[in-house]
Symmetry: C4
Subunit: 190 residues, 4 copies
């Protein structure tokens, strides 16, 4: 059972997710600068989600690099992750449509939280089937970032209703925290 | 004639099918929780179809693993399967739009039935061209699941008009029945 | 310069073309069989175009199999072909929207004609760069089907305004004529 | 860290970008030639952008061919390029919707300018990590085309408000200038 198709399928789904988000940017009928103004929150939410999907693709790329055996559990844990990521265009669109208002911001956080949990499950299943001495197990180590992110998402979800701007800032902080690709795996591979 | 492009093309089509279904979830204009409520049946039908497409990708992945020779008949039997699967976003959308009502549920079942038949044809053509001693022929064996599914779909289609909730449950049961990846092929390959 | 990415990119574009055509099948609001009736011409035009794109993918697959050297001219001749094929979802949608009426049927034929010419150009450029003794040159031979198709398309385009049903039948006949994959290349390869 | 998935993901995103642009060509309800007339500026802008994305794919293909080591910086510089290219369907749609009027033409130029800058950054990062003696460094050389394009885009953006037709002509000229694939890399590779 090779991992080639798993990677190809995941790449395909992630490439489509990242690109169909742009369909939420409906072409305005007017032809002046002010006609673009209502699109600004949509462009900003698109940019944030583009970075998040980029991070997932990036880390998925690194993680799959360590995989030697693909089994049914890994296939389904991967599909589970793709399911939550496939909802990102929807929650991104809702956030953008409503200028980062309260409930949409909370839903966006819930979506990110579920994706983070799905990634965590996938990571654990891969480690389980490759052993505690595997490259991934060593590279992940304490997995500080992986454990901190869900806590920050939870905090952002709760703050969405009281301090929506704080929730937005937390989502940006988590993205920045992950923007640095997983050096740990690169190091352990060498 | 290599199977690489057949797999790549199928992966591409399946990845697009699974992702464009999410376009049926139109972003609501309101920004409250109650604005999401009308989307619940659409999310549920999306989830079910996501699992079905995942199952097809999974089993397709396993089946293609046993293929050694690709010919024109296999290419077209594969396109035939992709045709029926490409209609799944439409029938899923219709089921979700109408809250799992009668005719949409029947059409959904017809779509699944046609895809199951197309898969059966593809499987038989591959077995024919690889011989009764091939890995796939041995792995499929009696093919209980493959023969039971169309019968259950037929039963669900008929019950759609009288007991729509039963049809829905049957579709879920068939999905669960297939969720377990085809261990038979994995075993025979070893 | 390898042909892997040329095939991967073409597969991607063809997979998307074949799948986004289904987005023209808008989910009806009603939930009865009669609500599906207006979709029948759209489903039929979708089926025909699905077969045409399938044929192009199939023959492209065969033709690329003989390619050894990829240069800039081949890359652009390939993009030229993909351009005309990318318009097929539009002309298919127009034919379906207007129940196979005159001008849409003619435009559909023009689209198929331009794609056939683009395929012919690509084939000739590949033959030129691989020599008259190459597998493709021998396999294509007189290229009866390749020369007959544009003539039939032209005839169908002209008949669209007088006998629209004849144009439709010609498009079906050309598709059937090509449905048989290019055995010539398979034979020459052996 | 292999470059296979980087190429596959980029191919996927570019294939989707090039194909979803066609969704801006909405199928008209009428069935006469005059119903197609409002689509002419949209088809023209689609054609121009199709060529631009084709050029980017082509040059990306050539550039990646010289890459031996993929690191996090290259991954993100590549995603940065894909981000700007993913906005091309939007700016293309706006130009087509408004018959090549002033502000849309300027935005189109800004989009092309940002993509050109992103490409330039990616190219420099690859050269940095492969050394001044690498194939790419030698092939790029003075990079006349790469430096001339942003200047021409800037000029076109400024002229959009005064002489919109000139901006359009400049975009066409830059495209033609790049249509010839990067022979430099092909030569250096031999």
């Amino acid at each position: 059972m090779n991992k080639g198709r798993l990677e190809a399928f995941s790449d395909g789904v992630l490439a489509i997710i990242i690109t169909i988000m742009v369909l939420e940017l409906k072409v305005p009928h007017g032809n002046e600068l002010k006609d673009l103004q209502p699109l600004i929150p949509k462009v900003l939410s698109y940019l944030l989600s583009f970075i998040y999907i980029g991070i997932y693709w990036n880390n998925h790329h690194h993680m799959m690099h360590t995989v030697k055996v693909v089994n049914g559990r890994i296939l389904w844990a991967n599909l589970h992750l793709l399911f939550w990521l496939s909802l990102v265009p929807f929650s991104t669109g809702w956030v953008g449509e409503n200028h980062f208002s309260q409930t949409p911001l909370a839903l966006y956080g819930i979506n990110l939280l579920m994706a983070a949990i799905a990634y965590f499950i996938l990571q654990n299943i891969i480690i389980q089937s490759h052993g505690a001495d595997s490259v991934l197990a060593k590279a992940v180590g304490d997995d500080v970032k992986g454990k901190l992110s869900p806590i920050l998402y939870l905090f952002a979800i709760l703050s969405s209703w009281y301090l929506p701007w704080l929730a937005g800032i937390i989502y940006i902080i988590v993205a920045l925290m992950w923007l640095i690709p997983d050096k740990r795996i690169e190091k352990k591979l060498q």
